[in-house]
Amino acid sequence: MNPNYLDFEQPIADLETKIEALRLVGNDNELNISDEIAKLSAKSVNLTESIFSNLSAAQVSKVSRHPLRPHTVDYIASIFDDFDELHGDRHFGDDQAMVCGIARLSGRAVMVMGQEKGRSTKEKVARNFGMPRPEGYRKALRMMQMAERFKMPILTFIDTPGAYPGIDAEERGQSEAIAYNLAQMSGLKTPVIATVIGEGGSGGALAIGVCDQLNMLQYSTYSVISPEGCASILWKSAEYAADAANAMGITSSRLHDLGLVDHVIKEPLGGAHRDADLVAASIKSTLISQLAELDLMDADTLLDRRYKRLMAYGLSS
């Protein structure tokens, strides 16, 4: 199995392997081979289109966790200029599962932050697979409050399996850290835009997700519990994760239809990792135009609007 492709993408992987092999023998009979390559490439695109036009929620969940999928640090590097990372919660430590800092968005000063899962094994461990501890949430809140003081909008990137379920995290008040962020974010006198770029896992995602504008990348997910967790509780076995994913409606299109997500940012065919620059450019232009709209509101209007949005969650219209 090609590790760069997911299980349901294996037919595409097989074709791509063939194309690659043809390219290597490319020198003899050039004409015929380039014809053949073109034919196979077109076939590969068609196949990808047909597979991706009909993804199940469980398959989207796999794309959202694809090993090559761009992470928070990748987007920060490609969307912003002059990023200065700022560290530490000033009380306990610096949580590397949460990345925060000041940057420029097309010249404008902004505060950016997001969970970071890490790429290499060593980095994944250092970043705790993107599962923040209380100090991570407290660091994020410190930066948000700083952003409010210096009138910078806050742009968050959500990509986490969830807040870390560990003994130390419990001892230092994981619940309180998340709860306090939720409460404080509802009253921040500066625009907040949250974008789910991969996995939006539960309270650990929401703790940087209270916002004026909620975006999701097309193949990202956002849910109250992981499909595996939900399946093991309600179906009594994690094997039913696909059913759970489907029942919960964790995909961007479904959540947009339900009115819980404001805007879906399209991804290239096959997922964000197929063209990370393109996705970064889409996110960037989305953020710029959304900020321009939020800029038109004074602080009271902004807060009033945010409060009403929050109060409307769950009301049957």
Binding site: P165, I167, A179, Y180, L182, L206, V224, I225, G249, L310
Partner: protein
């Protein structure tokens, strides 16, 4: 008058020995076994003792409505937002339909959903108090819990009345998916508004409080109180054990642990709950201190 047997067998042993035999001989529903010490307790007596075991002081779970009845002054209660009822928007189905789970929970608990909200008096002070019904799908928070909670908080805000919440919940309600997650933000935002207006909020943790409820409304009290032995945490013990592959320390996530780690202000026995909360609230609102109850 004590029998000859009482004189030769210590009380504790007699209690334990007697449990099994006695249970089979008594009419169903008159005795209740303490889940902690296994003592057989006479129900009317247990009720009079606020559902606290007369032998070992174990605080048993209490239905939401009974909780508010024992907390608020007699005949002082008016229910808030009772008309808000659950809707199965997602047509969620696991091994059972959510619709059927709701109907079953409604039948067992005689409640429409997992939160009951009341305006009432606490030793003469006007308050708004809400309580979670743990027997209703594990006290899980979905749209109705969130909506009733913020409507109760709104009554608090508008009338300047202290707000008290008794939580008992496994967390967010999975069958309502992302909507239930967003109830965390909704309830927390309402509490923040309450705070901005200087209205006190007391959060009382009763066993157990986890996940989406602990990581929102339950940990945001001006004062956080726990009943003895109540467990509170973000992640449940089983999930933590699977993640860290270590055995959890004795008493992990119990109220004594929470006090030691600074998560709560105090542990209060159910018998002192009314007086303690009233003492704190009357001080916070500069009203005369309550007179001790008989």
């Amino acid at each position: 008058m004590s029998s000859w047997l009482d004189k030769i067998v210590p009380a504790g042993i007699l209690t334990n020995l007697g449990t099994k035999d006695r249970r089979s001989n008594v009419p169903e529903g008159v005795w209740k076994k303490c889940p902690k010490c296994a003592a057989a307790l006479y129900k009317p007596e247990l009720e009079k003792n606020l559902e606290v075991c007369t032998k070992c002081e174990h605080h048993m779970r209490v239905p939401a409505r009974d909780r508010l009845t024992m907390f608020l002054d007699a005949n002082s209660q008016t229910e808030i937002a009772a008309e808000v009822e659950p809707v199965d928007k997602l047509k969620f189905k696991d091994i059972k339909k959510y619709k059927d789970r709701l109907a079953a929970a409604q039948k067992v608990t005689e409640e429409k959903d997992a939160l009951v909200a009341m305006k009432g008096k606490l030793m003469g002070i006007d308050v708004v108090a809400v309580a979670f019904e743990f027997n209703f799908l594990g006290g899980s928070m979905g749209a109705v819990v969130g909506e009733r909670f913020v409507r109760a908080a709104k009554v608090s805000m508008e009338q300047g009345l202290p707000f008290v919440c008794f939580s008992a919940s496994g967390g967010a309600r999975m069958q309502e998916a992302l909507t239930s997650l967003f109830q965390m933000a909704k309830t927390s935002a309402a509490l923040e508004k309450l705070k901005q207006q200087g209205v006190p909020y007391i959060s009382v943790l009763t066993d157990p409080v986890y996940g989406g409820v602990s990581a929102s409304l339950a940990m945001l009290g001006d004062v956080n109180i726990a009943e003895p032995g109540a467990r509170m945490g973000f992640a449940g013990p089983r999930v933590i054990e699977q993640t860290v592959r270590e055995t959890l320390p004795e008493g992990f996530q119990k109220s004594e642990f929470l006090l030691e780690h600074g998560a709560i202000d105090m542990i209060v026995n159910r018998h002192q709950m009314r007086a303690t909360v009233c003492r704190i609230l009357s001080a916070m609102t500069h009203q005369p201190a309550p007179v001790a109850e008989a």
